[in-house]
Amino acid sequence: MSAATNDPARQAEIVKLGRLLGREPDSLRYLQGVPVGDIRALRDLTNAALFDDDGEVLKRLAAAGKLLPTGVVAAISERAFGPLLAARVAGVMEPQRAADVGRHLEPTFLADVCVQLDPRAAREIVPRMDLETVLAVTGELLDRADYVTLGRFVGAMPDNELAAILEITEDDELVRVCAVAESAEGVAQIFGMLGAKRLASLRRRARRKDLAHEAEVLSDRL
């Protein structure tokens, strides 16, 4: 096994596995020598081991939630569920309903939910959310420097939302997010939307020492 300790993609996978397990990434440092695809496969297995048994209960919760106004469902999510369970329930809700509930949630809580949300569910929910909410949550995650979570949403945004997000994202933040993004198509979408001036600025920024590893991951784009 190779011991590439500075690979941002591998580090991002360890962070995501750590979040799933409630562990600090440092406590899983023995995975630094495991190929990134195998850490992702381990995370998928872990995800199934933790949550597959609860699928039926979550579906019933989502069904019961249909009886209640979206504002009440949002209040229950914040007060009783917490971000992890709210993310799981959102994953089995009708996407439009999940997006409507999201509008009533505080951006800080919604950002916590995004940390746990399955990217496959995000691809259905995010395009149905209003732009104001999407920008508020993106801003919150950027403030936290949570590039790993933002990277999970790359590829889930329609062009109009992505254009607005690119405007509020600094060059170094964008490089860091793209370096850990799970979707190569999503990264292509971002770079396809950047104008010549922004791309030149991004390339200049990526030459700085602190982004060396990220620039290496994105070498075919930068």
């Binding site: 409630g22 019933r60 992890l84």
Partner: protein, 79 residues
């Protein structure tokens, strides 16, 4: 790898396979016994914590549902 140590690693790998309920990627077999046991402990502990959190959240959620809908919601969720 000495035989006893190899056997212990195989046992730890088998336990990890059990808690994951599936075959872990082959490269994980190159981890040592302690690391494999740590991974299995982490998955096992997370599963128990998640189950407890779900149960507590359900109890808590019913209290938040408006009284008018409470019995219907409870019936749907616990049927």
């Amino acid at each position: 790898m000495p035989m006893a140590s190899h056997r212990e690693s195989q046992a730890a790998l088998s336990r990890l396979r059990g808690v994951l309920r599936g075959q872990p990627p082959a490269t994980l077999s190159e981890l040592n016994r302690q690391d494999l046991e740590d991974l299995a402990d982490a998955v096992d502990s997370a599963r128990r914590q998640h189950s407890e959190a779900l149960s507590a959240a359900l109890d808590n959620a019913f209290d938040q549902v408006p009284r008018l809908f409470r019995s219907t919601v409870r019936r749907i969720v616990t049927r």
